[in-house]
Symmetry: C3
Subunit: 434 residues, 3 copies
């Protein structure tokens, strides 16, 4: 593992990309999405797609495209008290254009704030109902006095496109591992600039590794984007995908969170639970009933993909969620790198989750093969114990994750043991997907 204090640590690099992504005003459609995809495309060979407004996708219709140039509120004294250019959260997502004078009472009908978090600007959207509105700190709202206010939103909703990015990295097998993240949340850091940033660096790592499986990786607007993507690809996805991960909220330093697939016992579930159990045993195990991101589509009846989420602080569950407090101070290089490491370890577990069989009957005599350490220390003892236990369960009916769970040794500790045993010709793979 790279030293995290190093200026060039992976964590630092992911943090830097996250910082760039944070500054872009995004929604489910529009210029911000294209800017975001462009920024990522500079780092990995992303293919960018566009789907016109009005396109049917399952039960949904691609909405018109929304773009915004400026927005503000001017108080009776002529002071600009709300300014989109300072923080794009100030405008309700998909606000229609407006330019008029309103009374305080009228204005209040269009102002959103959070009484319990008076210093936070909330994140509000209205994709499917026409509306205009501003979001402000509750403390600011309380100060407003009677009078005429100028409200101005220079936005445009018109036929255009929904955009998304895709990269397919082929492996030896046609079977696929699926990774998805979303690119529609503006400004905020953990939810959601961390996901696309971590994903970008995962793609770089995947491309640098030998691969058993093909990887299908998408950067989509949440909900409508995953629905559109599924509507075009779900048949082959259902046929090929053996494991999938939704990558979101992977930036802060708090506890790890796990959200299972709907079925709960897929290969993704098994890999994620196994890795978290050994690496971060205090992780929070949510139920699929706590879902709230694109697993809602990927795991829906008839789609049934094996998609889980490994997060740091889960959406909906941390106070800063969906407010201006979810900013770059809330996340860290260490938080990002931790999530990145866990996800890599899950991919390793899936890649190597084969059925192993020891080739001799009875215990092998490890001594004559120099598989016993020459000096016996506490750690060499536990290494020999791990090897003997691995052998005891390598009967062709247990795969890597099974054995790891049974003998209570992490898959990352078992992989070098497997290499040793293969090296001396003692181990064979029963179900090799090559």
């Amino acid at each position: 593992m790279e030293n995290i204090n190093n200026e060039n640590s992976i964590g630092k690099k992911i943090y830097e990309l996250t910082s760039n992504l944070v500054s872009i005003c995004r929604s489910i459609t529009g210029q911000g999405v294209r800017e975001t995809l462009g920024l990522i495309q500079k780092r990995i060979p992303l293919k960018i797609y566009e789907v016109p407004s009005g396109t049917q996708a399952f039960d949904w219709t691609v909405p018109r495209e929304w773009n915004i140039k400026d927005a503000y509120v001017i108080n009776p004294q002529g002071k600009k008290i709300v300014d989109f250019k300072k923080n794009s959260l100030h405008v309700v997502g998909y606000s229609i254009p407006v330019d008029k004078e309103v009374t305080l009472s009228e204005l209040l009908d269009h102002l959103y704030s959070i009484e319990d978090q008076p210093e936070a600007i909330p994140y509000v959207t209205s994709y499917y109902k026409e509306r205009w509105g501003f979001c402000i700190k509750h403390n600011e709202k309380k100060k407003l006095e009677e009078g005429k206010y100028r409200v101005f939103i220079d936005s445009e909703i018109k036929d255009g496109f929904l955009n998304f990015g895709e990269i397919v990295i082929s492996g030896k097998s046609k079977k696929e591992i699926f990774l998805s993240t979303y690119i529609c949340h503006p400004v905020m850091a953990n939810n959601e600039s961390s996901g696309p940033a971590v994903m970008t660096f995962l793609v770089k790592w995947i491309m640098s590794q030998p691969r058993e499986f093909t990887y299908r990786i998408v950067f989509v607007p949440e909900t409508i984007g995953s629905i559109v993507y599924l509507s075009k690809n779900y048949k082959k996805m259902k046929e090929n995908i053996i494991a999938g991960f939704n990558i979101t909220c992977v930036g802060d330093d708090r506890n790890y969170s796990f959200l299972p697939s709907r079925k709960g016992d897929t290969l993704s579930d098994k890999a994620a639970l196994n890795v978290l159990k050994f690496k971060h045993p205090n992780f929070i195990h949510y139920s699929f009933l706590d879902r709230g991101s694109d697993e809602r589509q990927y795991c829906s009846p008839g789609i049934d993909l094996p998609v889980v989420s490994i997060m740091r602080s889960k959406y909906c569950e941390y106070p800063e969620y969906h407010t201006s407090l979810d900013n770059l101070d809330f996340i860290s290089p260490e938080g990002l790198e931790g999530a990145y490491d866990v996800l890599r370890e899950c991919l390793d577990a899936v890649e190597n989750n084969k059925y192993y069989r020891i080739k001799c009957l009875g215990e092998p005599q490890l001594g004559k093969r120099n598989l016993y350490p020459t000096i016996s220390t506490k750690s060499s003892k536990s290494q020999v114990k791990a090897m003997m236990d691995f052998i005891a369960y390598a009967d062709g009916s247990n795969n890597l994750i099974d054995i790891s769970n049974i003998i209570n040794v992490s898959t990352s500790n078992l992989l070098p043991i497997i290499e040793s045993l293969k090296g001396v010709g003692l181990l064979e793979i029963i179900d090799d997907r090559e």
Copy 2:
């Protein structure tokens, strides 16, 4: 639900019928059984059957019929100290006739009382061994002095009939729901005048409802009655019955009790556990090893019917059980109505326990179908959450009770959601038994 304080509440009506049933002296055969069945027949279209003494039924023989006109004990001072006409519990069930003078010592050999409950008259029977005896309060027994006592029992045991009642209410399907209660316990209220009374009102309700299934409902003397009924009907019962409930001890206000079927995971078990979990989560979950009523026959090897019991205070488990203290003061309209409601909810769960499938891929867009509430309140939110969770698991592989258990919403709350979704054409039934 009707107001329970209303003079016309279902609870009051069931209580009134229970009161009428309590006053009848019953045993497993004889005039009391026929009187009881007659009283019920006035309310529902019961068919009454008779089986002659000596009839073989599986390993058993229908006993001779027992009737009793009078019985008493007169003390040396000429005072009638035990009087059948005051309480029929005073005579051991199936006592042979006797009319003689006995010493105190001889009398004591034939007197039954409970030392720990000195003010209770116990309930004692001797169906299969010829015997005579009296039951009295222990406090009365202790007062008895030396001298000659007159014992008199004007009973008759002779060839006759065993009687039982049956009503079959046909539904769309030949598949049956089976309900059984027993009519052999004299005088006592919870065990067992409550069962036939609640059953009578359940029958009225079932007849008033649209029905998927056919209902087979019996009022039998315990043990010998269910054995006789099974011996005549078990082949078609095994073929058709999908769920069954033994209705007993359904009158008092204490906790609910559940006794599973022998197999423990039948549709009846699932429906009962599901309903109790949501409606009365503190219910007591007994084991089949605690059985003691007709499930002993219905669940016996080779019969294997899916019969469970939902009770208030379970037989054998409350201090008043099988004594004169199990009287009308021990039960209440509220207790009876509570059990009646739980049983109706179980029948509703069984009737609607189909496999549902959402008809679109991905989440449906509820907004465009006005399935989102126009005003968002705490209860509307939980209603939308329940609907989304129902949809997520309506994949054709889960039935109503499965989904209820998974998403932690009662079947009674899911039924209106199912109606809404069917109404907008989003939901189909996979395994409709019509």
Copy 3:
């Protein structure tokens, strides 16, 4: 059960044989093994086999034979401070011959002691690497002063034989129950003179009983012995063995221990867990990961025999383990007899673990068959309850151990009930292996 204080109790007899076995210096090969087998052969008709050094067995080679006549260390003052003839643990097993003067420093390189147990002589072996060494109490080692020491070991390692004993006791069925114990540990009592001693008396008992199954019983040197035996017999063993027990550490008075088979749910596991649950509910339930005896071979991938261990204090887990403190004071007649009884009960459970079915429909009327006790006491009540519960689950789908677990009555209490029910023609065996 025999009175344990009786001079002729089984416990006393097993203890006496254990005492005889303790005195023999044993290793995995050599004269000690043959002496041990000879001693046992005087009591039971053991067949003794020999396998020449150099024979291949799976991944292993039979080592050369080791014998030793004498060994000692003489200190600079001419005093014999370590003497093999006083305790054969003083010499590292398989020590090569040596006869020379060494400095204290050289000597210390060849001295083994336990700092934490300064009064214990440790048990050390070096079967597969040529070495010489002595084992002494740490307190003695600390006293050693500078100077020249004479070290002398009159041992011999040369081509010879590995010996083991086998007895096959035929039953009605070709299916086998397998029992294994080991005979390579010198001097110590619980681990391992108790195993061969208890096994000898089990064999006497098995020979005296009617048997459903054939018994394959072996006395082998640990590891290499079981590997050699398996390599010659594993095909028919895999075909025939339905249950197996490794008999080790069965001598002391402490808690019972259970080590499962690798698969964990074989007939042996079920029988052992059932017997221990009722007879010694506080037993310690180890994991197969805690294995350390011949189940390592018997349960290895591809061999997969259903072999478990029921022990008193498990090897590796008691302070006296593999030291001179594991002596005759550590074990007792009561400890040995307790293990002997548990093992017999397991064999009884396996022998009678058939699928039973009650022959009538509905509950049988026990009264008319005099299966109800004439006087009702607390113990007769629980006996009737056990019989009724047995009948309720004797549906042809549950075997003896299943029913015992379900109704919470030990198999030893169920066997007389089964006899009664068979006696009156109410019970049939569905899956009789005769």
